[in-house]
Symmetry: C2
Subunit: 151 residues, 2 copies
């Protein structure tokens, strides 16, 4: 079914170009919204990655960077009162990053102020929203390299 349309099936190269353009535009919108609140995109991304408490090491994994970088990023979030470090229960080596109420509020504001992104989403039909979301969900595990492994 669906072979009556005159639409051409896009090549991998065309899909790559489209995805790269959308990804870059999304990121710019995100970075601009974060900057309005005095956060770099890395800091804002970190803030969004600690909605549940996360050990420093695991946060590095989520951010896709070396563990040594997380120190400075969390330092800044902590100095701004957006997150704080807590001692872990079982292992005294690990520190757990916990978002504060103010951090959560700033995060929500940043996300709410991504005007272009919201504008783009609201111009989509329900069918398009469902399609985009399900395609992303299907593609993400492969793209992120989680073929069968956990975490």
């Amino acid at each position: 079914m669906g072979s009556t349309a005159t639409t051409t099936v896009p090549t991998n190269a065309e899909l790559m170009e489209a995805l790269a353009a959308v990804g870059a535009a999304y990121f710019q919108d995100f970075a601009a919204a974060a900057a309005r609140h005095g956060l770099s995109s890395s800091q804002a991304k970190a803030l969004g990655s600690v909605q549940e408490p996360v050990p420093m090491r695991a946060l590095a994994g989520r951010l896709g960077c070396d563990a040594s970088n997380v120190t400075g990023i969390v330092d800044r979030l902590e100095s701004l009162g957006l997150a704080h470090r807590e001692a872990a229960a079982g292992d005294r080596r690990v520190k757990i990053v916990v978002i504060t109420d103010e951090g959560r509020e700033i995060l929500n504001r940043i996300r709410g102020e991504m005007a272009r992104t919201h504008q783009a989403f609201e111009a989509m039909t329900d069918e398009q929203r469902v399609a985009l979301h399900s395609i992303c969900a299907q593609v993400l595990p492969v793209l992120a390299g989680r073929t069968g492994a956990a975490q």
Copy 2:
């Protein structure tokens, strides 16, 4: 049509999360492929932005960064033999960045070596490919802030 499915229409927040995850994973695949060829992601992005000759200033616009940064990025591409500067015909102030044959070959290799991206694309049905491509095309102008203006 399409109201028989039990699928729920995703919220803006859910779409943002999905898009952010896919965009980040795509970017990591791109950066890793570029690094294998000794290029930073900025340099590789610049290389992909000069498939047609582009003035330095316009390249800065495409990369979404200040013009002063482009000098160093193009310096490196030039020292690697992947691009070179040419004088512009009408205006002696402007320099035009032109990709070399070797630059084009490296660019094609980088794109071809984005294994996870190709893997993700090839797991998609033709319908999904068409849907993703058309959604991206529809959403991009809004997301990139080009509501009606040219270039």
